[in-house]
């Protein structure tokens, strides 16, 4: 009997085949629908297989070794709970994105630069999740980066995109090298690169610490942890929107998978301080990410930054899980870990949805700059509705899914008093505060995103000819919106679905949720805390419609259209509306000082001069200026200095040889 992994591997294989085919036919008109259709079908098929597997025996592990890749290790692939879950995330995202691409791809100006790499990208992510030895893992990992790089370079005539692609790939290979070192440590001098072997070998404390640090560098740079995030807000928006959705919604999750796989699975029992490190990094990442997002006026960049925030949340709760696991508090660890995975799933939903929305706006108006948008809700009702759903979900508002997972995170944080170490006792609530701050700021950020883009009046002419986008795109977005709602009101099912994963990695899982009365979720005990999204949803709908009905029925339902009141001010030009920048101004005033050394200067014209006064705002990316600029400066200096060696005379070159010889001989003379 062929193991299920073999079936699953057919997916990526087929995707690669599609990629090659696409490279051949990419200049035909029919290529777009062909490629995306194929990708859709394959993703759905893989989903079906995984679903069948989970429905049948979720705990069961099946592995296979192909005679490929690294000789004497072979290409090993393995399906366990964790990879099954991430397979679902990847292929769900892949399927929806392909559906979206069926419509969106038609507007692509250079399809031959997108179509071949899109399936390859999907295949890469699938393989990463299935890989079971260091070599295949890294190969798929870097292949994934490479394919996405090609997609980022799709619109290569734009200088900014080229720069984004460059920084992206350099950071990516930096991450890969870090992972390579980590695996080198785990494999040991004998070079046992199979994960199974690493799992059994329990490294010492120092090694474990080094591996953790390297994983934070490697997986973190891909996921976008501060300060390794610099490439992310450049690269994600540069790609075509559906690819941005994949990169932001799915690829970052693959990075999270890598982190979990190594730190929770291969590394064995963690030390408590590892939890501290991950927690702090997560918290800082969350706050800084969302603050940057608030300062953005480019819609896609805003979304990219908010991805950084969500990654921060995920890593923070992973850190919690580590801390609890280290202190033998399996139930709390299971709670935190479940929260992390749940948030992974949710973020893949709403972030893809939001990027799709941004893509729709881009197709309709050709604009990403929110300052030129506004009032789209009248022209694109459906898009704006689903986008709103996305915003509500990502802002962690009940009864949508974002809230469910954040609620679980907070519940996990509330377990901290049982932790023995003082450091953790103090840090965990502080991080909790950071996460709360991040959540509140996220709400603010997406009020801005939706309000400036879709509400108000049109800020430029491009909005005038905006049309609702094509059906496939709308369908994709609608599907995701439904997912967001369902995961929000029926979280119990998701949590129970995750229990095998937690069971395998933590050793315990959360209590069964779907058995609870009224389908509410109860992490520990009902007396402690509980949440019932379904009922909240029902109550709100009932009472809202009830109120509406009562008033319309018994009071008045008269309605008259008139000019806006605006405290009696005459109807001002649309430019007088609040803009993205001005909307963020109060928050910039509050946090800008320390977060990005923001400075506002007012340029007053000379007395009597006619030009208007100007308010100049300059914002600095502290991480960029603290880490990246010095490095590039140093490289610049070094190259400048060494470059002189290209311009010596032959005699001087001979002198070099001569000196080298003499030095070596001296060494030899002094050799004991």
């Amino acid at each position: 009997m062929i193991s299920i992994v073999a079936f699953l591997l057919c997916g990526p294989a087929a995707l690669l085949g599609t990629a090659i085919l696409a490279a051949a036919v990419s200049r035909r008109a029919s290529a777009t629908s062909l490629v995306y259709g194929a990708a859709l079908a394959i993703s759905v098929a893989v989903l079906a297989i995984v679903a069948g597997h989970l429905a049948g025996n979720p705990g069961e592990v099946s592995a296979i070794t192909l005679p490929l890749g690294l000789p004497w290790t072979g290409a090993r692939f393995r399906l366990d709970g964790l990879s099954a879950f991430f397979l679902v995330v990847v292929n769900l995202g892949g399927a929806v994105t392909s559906l979206y691409g069926l419509g969106y791809g038609r507007h692509e100006s250079q399809p031959h630069r997108v179509l071949p790499f899109y399936p390859a990208f999907l295949a890469g992510m699938n393989l990463v999740v299935l890989a079971n030895d260091a070599f295949s893992f890294l190969l798929s990992w870097e292949f994934m980066s490479l394919a996405s790089w090609a997609l980022v370079m799709a619109h290569h005539r734009d200088e900014a995109n080229r720069r984004a692609g460059y920084i992206y790939l350099v950071m990516a290979s930096f991450g890969t090298l870090a992972l390579l070192l980590a695996f080198g440590l785990l494999a040991g001098p004998a070079g046992t690169y199979a994960f199974d072997a690493m799992r059994t070998a329990h490294p010492g404390l120092l090694t474990a610490g080094a591996v953790l640090a390297l994983m934070l560098l490697g997986a973190g740079s891909k996921a976008g942890l501060v300060p390794l995030h610099a490439w992310l807000p450049l690269a994600h928006p540069a790609a075509p929107s559906h690819v941005s959705a994949l990169m932001s919604g799915i690829m970052t999750k693959v990075a999270v998978y890598g982190f979990i796989r190594v730190v929770f699975d291969l590394l064995g029992a963690p030390a408590w301080w590892s939890g501290v490190v991950v927690l702090l990094i997560g918290g800082v990442t969350a706050v800084l990410g969302i603050l940057h997002a608030l300062m953005e006026k480019d819609l896609k960049r805003l979304l990219a930054y908010s991805t950084i925030e969500n990654i921060g949340v995920i890593f923070a709760s992973l850190g919690l899980a580590l801390a609890f696991k280290a202190n033998a508090m399996p139930s709390a660890a299971a709670l935190a870990f479940t929260a992390a995975l749940f948030h992974v799933l949710n973020h893949s939903f709403f972030k893809s949805l939001l990027f799709f929305g941004a893509g729709a706006v881009l197709t309709a108006t050709g604009e990403r700059d929110m300052e030129k948008l506004g009032g789209l809700i009248h022209r694109m009702p459906v898009t704006s509705f689903v986008f709103l759903v996305g915003c509500v979900s990502i802002a962690a508002l009940p009864p949508f899914n974002g809230f469910a997972s954040e609620w679980l995170v907070f519940q996990a944080i509330l377990q901290s008093p049982e932790l023995p170490q003082w450091g953790l006792k103090v840090i965990v609530p502080a991080v909790g505060g950071m996460l709360a701050l991040a959540a509140a700021l996220a709400a603010a950020c997406f009020v801005k995103a939706f309000g400036i883009t879709f509400l108000g009046r049109a800020r430029s002419a491009v909005v005038g000819q905006a049309r609702e986008v094509d059906r496939p795109s709308l369908a994709a977005m609608a599907v995701l919106a439904v997912f967001c709602l369902l995961a929000g009101i029926l979280p119990g099912f998701v949590i129970d679905g995750l229990s095998p994963v937690t069971l395998s990695l933590i050793g315990e899982s959360m209590p069964v949720q779907t058995a609870q009365p009224w389908l509410s979720i109860v992490p520990i005990a009902e007396s402690r805390s509980s949440y019932n999204g379904l009922l909240v949803f029902v109550f709100i709908t009932i009472s809202a419609s009830l109120a509406a009905f009562v008033i319309h029925r018994f009071a008045s339902h008269a309605l008259r259209r008139g000019p806006a009141w605006g405290c009696g001010f005459a109807d001002a030009v649309p430019a007088a509306q609040y803009t993205a920048v001005s909307f963020a101004q109060p928050i910039r005033r509050v946090f800008g000082g320390f977060a990005f050394r923001a400075r506002e200067t007012v340029e007053m014209p000379a007395p009597g001069a006619l030009e208007p006064a100007r308010l100049k705002v300059d914002i600095h990316d502290v991480a960029w200026e603290t880490f990246y600029q010095p490095i590039s400066g140093a490289i610049d200096f070094a190259t400048e200095r060494l470059n002189h060696l290209q311009f010596l005379t032959i005699r001087r070159y001979l002198t070099l040889v001569f000196l080298y010889l003499v030095i070596l001989l001296l060494v030899l003379a002094l050799w004991p």
Binding site: A396, A436, L455, S556, W565, G566, Y578, Q585
Partner: protein
């Protein structure tokens, strides 16, 4: 049978908050008026206002979208559900486990979210001002609130309000510094959230420092009524939150009989009255502060809450 009774009690609570909310506002206004030696409107004036607004026709800005028209009902519904889930006269009601304190905070958050959006919908500069300032205030108030929740939960070992209330009612609580800090922080947050003086002035229009009123400037008729009602409910919610957490005396408990419930109701009314008077006195005593002083105000609340949480670790007895 018992279930029916429980449901009845729950329903009673929902209606109660709905009916009491305008009265509370009226009472506060009355007291404030008396404090400055004015006659002031009658206690039921808010009811009259609401009824009048509901009968009036709605004047809708040309640019207003469907969101603008749906929002009032959403805000009302969210606030009402939240308010109905806070124990007023009795804890541990039928649906109390639907949502714990965090969820209640989040429900208010979603109400605010939609209100801010509605403020931006018409596209006047006032709406923008209101929305941007509101989210700024919220971005500080919500973390503070959550930290308060943390410290309560760490003391009571739960975020379930009924449990917290029961615990706070029980003798082993004693007097704790951290709880005091949380109380102060909670009051500050409540003031900010309800747009009361000194953070915002509910009684003014056309003042560039206004926040809440600026967002609802374009509303009229039944929509305005809904929003006003939601505002009243919010105030009631916070008052009853404070009362049930910090003055849990007389609170009837799960499965209690009619007598206990009656006592609870009476106690609840008394608490409301006391807190309302305190609020009125406070508001008359202090002056409105500049908008950009508000972050400092809330920052103080945040720090207090965090401090309260951390103190819990330093010593269990504090």
């Amino acid at each position: 049978m018992a279930v029916i009774f429980e449901l009845a009690v729950q329903g009673a609570q929902m209606l109660l908050v709905l009916l009491l909310a305008p009265l509370l506002i009226g009472f506060v206004r009355k007291v404030k008026a008396r404090l400055v030696r004015r006659q002031g409107p009658s206690l039921i004036q808010p009811y009259r206002d609401l009824a009048r607004l509901m009968r009036k026709e709605v004047v809708l800005a040309d640019n207003a979208s469907w969101l603008f028209r749906v929002t009032p009902y959403l805000i009302f519904a969210a606030t009402w559900v939240a308010a109905a889930l806070v124990p007023t006269f009795a804890a541990g009601l039928q649906f109390s486990w639907t949502a714990d304190l965090i969820v209640i905070v989040a429900l208010l958050g979603s109400a605010r979210f939609f209100q801010a959006l509605a403020g931006m919908d018409v596209g006047t500069s006032f709406g923008g001002i209101g929305a941007s300032r509101e989210v700024m205030i919220a971005s500080l108030a919500e973390p503070a609130m959550l930290l308060i929740v943390f410290s309560l939960a760490l003391v009571a070992g739960a975020t379930q309000l009924s449990t917290v209330a029961a615990f706070m009612g029980s003798p082993e609580v004693g007097l704790r510094v951290s709880l005091g800090m949380s109380l102060i922080a909670l009051v500050m947050v409540a003031i900010a959230e309800n747009a009361r003086i000194p953070v915002d002035n509910p009684a003014t229009h056309l003042e560039l420092t206004m926040v809440h009123e600026a967002m609802i400037l374009e509303y009229s008729g039944r929509h305005l009524a809904m929003i006003e009602l939601a505002t009243f409910l919010k105030l009631l919610l916070y008052v009853s939150l404070i009362s049930c957490v910090f003055l849990p005396w007389g609170l009837a408990h799960a499965g209690a009989g009619p007598k206990a419930l009656a006592i609870g109701a009476a106690a609840y009314l008394v608490k409301l009255a006391v807190l309302a008077i305190l609020l009125a006195v406070f508001e008359t005593a202090v002056a409105k502060m500049r908008v950009f002083r508000v972050p400092d105000f809330l920052g103080a609340a945040l720090m207090l809450a965090l401090l309260g949480t951390l103190l819990l670790f330093v010593s269990r007895s504090l």
